[in-house]
Symmetry: C2
Subunit: 258 residues, 2 copies
Amino acid sequence: MDPITSPRNPRVAAAAKLVRARERRRRGEMLLEGPHVVEAAVTAGVTLRSVFGLDGDSASRTLAARAGATWVPCTEEVLERLGATEHPRGPMAVGVIPDTAVGWRRDTLVADLRDPGNAGTLIRTAAAFGLDICFSSQAVDVWAPKILRAGAGAHFLTDVGTGLETVPDGVGTIATVVTGGAPPARAFERLDSGRVWAVMVGSEPHGLSPATVDSADVTVTIPMPGRTESLNAAVAASIVAYELSLWRSAVGSHSDGH
Amino acid sequence: MDPITSPRNPRVAAAAKLVRARERRRRGEMLLEGPHVVEAAVTAGVTLRSVFGLDGDSASRTLAARAGATWVPCTEEVLERLGATEHPRGPMAVGVIPDTAVGWRRDTLVADLRDPGNAGTLIRTAAAFGLDICFSSQAVDVWAPKILRAGAGAHFLTDVGTGLETVPDGVGTIATVVTGGAPPARAFERLDSGRVWAVMVGSEPHGLSPATVDSADVTVTIPMPGRTESLNAAVAASIVAYELSLWRSAVGSHSDGH
């Protein structure tokens, strides 16, 4: 196949449209950027339609072959049209958005984050600590290129749900609040290890709704001895996830069929 | 004063130039965005030259008066010219970059982060946990608008240093590594509480240099039971900072003259 040299090539234009949430929903496809994210998707068995890479980039071509996807050699100018960053590295890939949902079989982060960087960062945290993650209905579209990039491949290493209205009955709820909760390590000592637990975090600057906090089984607050009571929302959620993961490692699994 | 309506007004153009690092260094000034950051600067006694806000925005005008700065009413179009975000909220302010440095009198984060969002997020973490923070010479310019925004005012709540070559003699060093270190809580139990400790974190994807790790007093690794060994760099550093802060709260102060 001759390399594509024009950013206005129809195949390129169709891929570039996937930066729009509406287009992603309509086609059920997403745009993956960079070797790390594309490789994670291929390894997880995500269906890729096409892989764009620089003509002569054998690593990208091999990834395309592994994925059973169409290999599309192109110029740097074309990759720049597709990349959300200023200097995109290949490969870029068009993939089918997985039909994922969280199963509530293991501890789960429940996030209402709107910032794309924070949302992607928290998906990474969830995967690192062996948690699933579910976003509330108001939160961002997790398959957006910015969130996929910040997630660094973690979207394909743990269950990622969206559109959550309420946590299912039987799942324990932990609300993360800026003041008035117990320190996480102390609060978690008393948790029933036979239950699955959901760590709930709100977006900045307002946090969780009062109703969510009131109905939670446990409220936790990260002790902050400094001159401010403000952590980035993804950082705060990650610290609580870390503590929950330490606790879970100490007490053993619930009924982890994951 | 009549409101400025043109983004090409000389005063506006001069302020807008502060998005460039070279211009910030030459003039020793920075561009502050949003009520939270401007308020934090005023409260900390940072010298503001001018405060731009929508004509009729009395809160911004009051902030200008509190700071002893020139009040510059303007239109939304002008604020958009100054803001790095798409929909900037006023006020925007031109302020004098504080002559800060870390004093190594209390525990300090030493960061080699290049991503502006991560750098600002980590300054927030430092302020929340009562730590100073110092960036290495290769790291980003902490007074860039993006970093100030991600810092959410924390730049003015703790000591922020830049251009660090080496940690001073006598300061204990903790290297954060992806594998092979001790879990932070266990490692910190053995620390000498009479010393000041520096938590060192590298940038993604390479982390700290082997020489830095080899010469550290302590190496720590965050336990990650999930299917990936990858956390966002600011998140990883924040978790270690959190553990150090818990340990310091438990053992008491070094000789905190801060």
